[in-house]
């Protein structure tokens, strides 16, 4: 994905001069509520309605704004997939997860045994039992639902996951689990992740690059390490300062050696 430029409407809801997400990279969009994060994310898939979207949005080699509606529907799901904020609400309540999965696969031309295989593989990749495909949304937990949404993306072969505050409705313990899955997929499969969040602490632990937005405009962007270490914009500084700190564990427990090897912001 290259050269993502978004300008919207007469009232500018989101204006992002430049935003690239490379394979295996996690880019985080941060900023206060209403700053245009979701809008930016959705315009990537041409899903912003009732607004005037200008600029150039490329998903792979497809220009979202000039592509035909059919072509656009083609890339949705198969190239870039969405993971939304509230896990259960994002799933159709009257449909077994497997039904949704197979319909989505069929939509992109995968059917029959092939589809079953892809579905189970996707589900396993997010550490779920394929049995979950037989359940309805209200029978799964928030974390499971969120992981299933990621599994959908994997099964469809999406190279980029667009995650809109995927964990803000979850408890911290569950959040950790979803984030771990995302990280692992990024590392192991080279999945690109565009993550929207307002939790700077969370972002700091996962994102490679950070884009800070305010009132529809980008105020700062750069590598995560840089932005957190030396925020240049006053607003970014305020954001960082507002993160409540836990009292440090004294003494800090030694890190287990077999986990989280070789990663970090």
């Amino acid at each position: 994905m290259r050269d993502l430029v978004v300008r919207i409407g007469d009232r500018v809801i989101a204006s992002v001069p430049e935003l690239d997400v490379a394979a295996g990279e996690c880019v985080a969009l941060v900023g206060e509520s209403g700053s245009g994060k979701t809008t930016t994310l959705l315009s990537t898939l041409g899903l912003v309605h009732g607004a005037d979207v200008r600029g150039r949005i490329m998903v792979g080699d497809v220009d979202v704004l000039t592509a035909s509606p059919a072509r656009l529907r083609e890339i949705r799901g198969s190239r870039a997939a969405l993971v939304m904020q509230s896990p259960q609400a994002a799933l159709n309540p009257t449909m077994r997860l497997g039904t949704l999965m197979s319909r989505a696969l069929a939509r992109h031309g995968v059917k029959g045994a092939d589809a079953r295989e892809r579905a189970e593989e996707g589900v396993r990749a997010v550490l779920l039992d394929p049995e979950i495909l037989r359940r309805y949304p209200h029978q799964v937990s928030g974390g499971q639902a969120q992981r299933f949404a990621i599994a959908l993306a994997l099964a469809l072969g999406a190279q980029v996951v667009l995650a809109d505050e995927p964990t803000s409705a979850l408890d911290v313990t569950v959040q950790a689990e979803v984030v771990a899955v995302l990280r692992r997929l990024r590392d192991e499969r080279g999945l690109a992740v565009l993550l929207v969040s307002h939790d700077l602490a969370l972002v700091s632990t996962i994102a490679d690059r950070v884009v800070v937005m305010r009132d529809g405009a980008v105020v700062e962007s750069g590598s995560a390490a840089e932005v957190f270490a030396r925020p240049s914009d006053p607003y970014t500084r305020e954001l960082i300062a507002a993160v409540p700190e836990l009292p440090e564990a004294v003494p800090a427990p030694p890190e287990p050696a077999d986990l989280h090897e070789g990663e970090g912001p």
Partner: protein, 338 residues
């Protein structure tokens, strides 16, 4: 599910009990002495007293109520004053025809209303939407008795496309008599393969069913539209779009099922409403249903018959509600979990 079911059943029984009490109360308010009506105008004082005793009219009200309930449960719904038949038999006779009419109307309403609702939701805010909204509002605003006259005059007597009135061409009774099983003419004709009567019945059904369908079709279209718009604005619809499904597919393949739930819960209400609308329409089309029976009993202040119809329709409503609740469980797995 079973516990939920039991609770619903309990509620339904409670409501039916209330309905019986209320019906009883209304009946006791009706002017005129049932004993006089029964004993006849020339009854002597002794005969009157006997009639009073027979009807238990001298008992205290709670006892009368108890007797009434006991009779009802025992299948004795009283004797109609104007047909002089047991009310229960009258109702059994008239109800299938009403069911046939209202059933046909509801089928029309669903077949017309749901696609219109979908179309309106699909083109929300555009011309198709506006026209569906306006026409559905017209449909729920039209006085049925007037619509019945208008359609009959235009399509039956004016253009001659459809039969004027009646349940089927009566001369068919002689050329191809109908074996009755369910007492619903169309159904019986279908299962016995009586094609002349079936086609005749269907032709006769069209106009009255259309008239009765106007209201439910309007309601269903409005409700489908509203529920679909609601549903398609939900998060899950956004996900479905993001999976590459087009707007129409999102509406019909995904949003429709959860959206059907509110539509379904309307059906019970609309069903009862339509039966009552039959009171206004059946006479015009000479349809031998509950509506005509009710209208006749009302005009003749036939208390047992009025009570019978009232009870029957109210109980039907409760049962329909129950059925709809069960159906909702089929449509929406969340309900099953309750």
């Amino acid at each position: 599910m079973p516990r939920y079911l039991i609770r619903r059943l309990g509620q339904a029984v409670l409501v039916v009990a209330g309905v019986i009490v209320l019906t009883f109360a209304i009946m006791r308010l009706v002017p005129g002495d049932p004993a006089v009506a029964y004993a006849g105008p020339k009854a002597t004082a002794a005969e009157l007293a006997q009639a009073r005793q027979r009807f238990g009219l001298d008992d205290p009200l709670p006892v009368q109520l108890w007797n009434y309930v006991r009779d009802l449960l025992g299948g004795d719904w009283g004797t109609s004053l104007h047909t002089r038949q047991p009310v229960r038999d009258d109702l059994l006779q008239a109800f299938p025809a009403s069911l046939e009419l209202v059933g046909a109307a509801l089928i029309i309403a669903l077949v017309v209303g749901i696609p219109l609702g979908i179309a309106a939701a699909r083109y929300k805010g555009r011309l198709p939407d506006l026209s569906v909204r306006l026409s559905s509002m017209l449909a729920v605003s039209v006085p049925v008795f007037w619509l019945a006259l208008a359609l009959q005059t235009v399509f039956a007597s004016g253009l001659g496309w459809l039969p004027v009135a009646g349940e089927y061409d009566a001369s068919l009774d002689r050329t191809s008599p109908l074996h009755l099983f369910t007492n619903i003419t169309a159904v019986d004709a279908l299962i016995t393969g009586n094609w002349p009567i079936l086609t005749s019945t269907l032709a006769h059904l069209v106009l009255p069913a259309l008239v009765i369908a106007a209201y439910p079709a309007g309601v269903v279209a409005q409700m489908t539209r509203a529920a679909l718009i609601d549903e398609s604005a939900r998060d899950h619809a956004r996900l479905e779009r993001a999976l590459g499904f087009g707007e129409t597919a999102v509406l019909t393949r995904f949003a429709l099922r959860p959206a059907l739930n509110p539509v379904l819960s309307l059906i019970a209400l609309v069903f009862a409403y339509s039966i009552v609308n039959g009171f206004l329409v059946e006479a015009v089309f000479n349809w031998p249903g509950l509506g005509r029976y009710a209208a006749d009993s009302i005009r003749s202040l036939d208390t047992p018959a009025i009570a019978g119809v009232t009870l029957l329709v109210a109980v039907l409503y409760v049962v329909a509600n129950l059925a709809v609740d069960l159906l909702q469980g089929v449509v929406d797995p969340r309900v099953r979990a309750r």
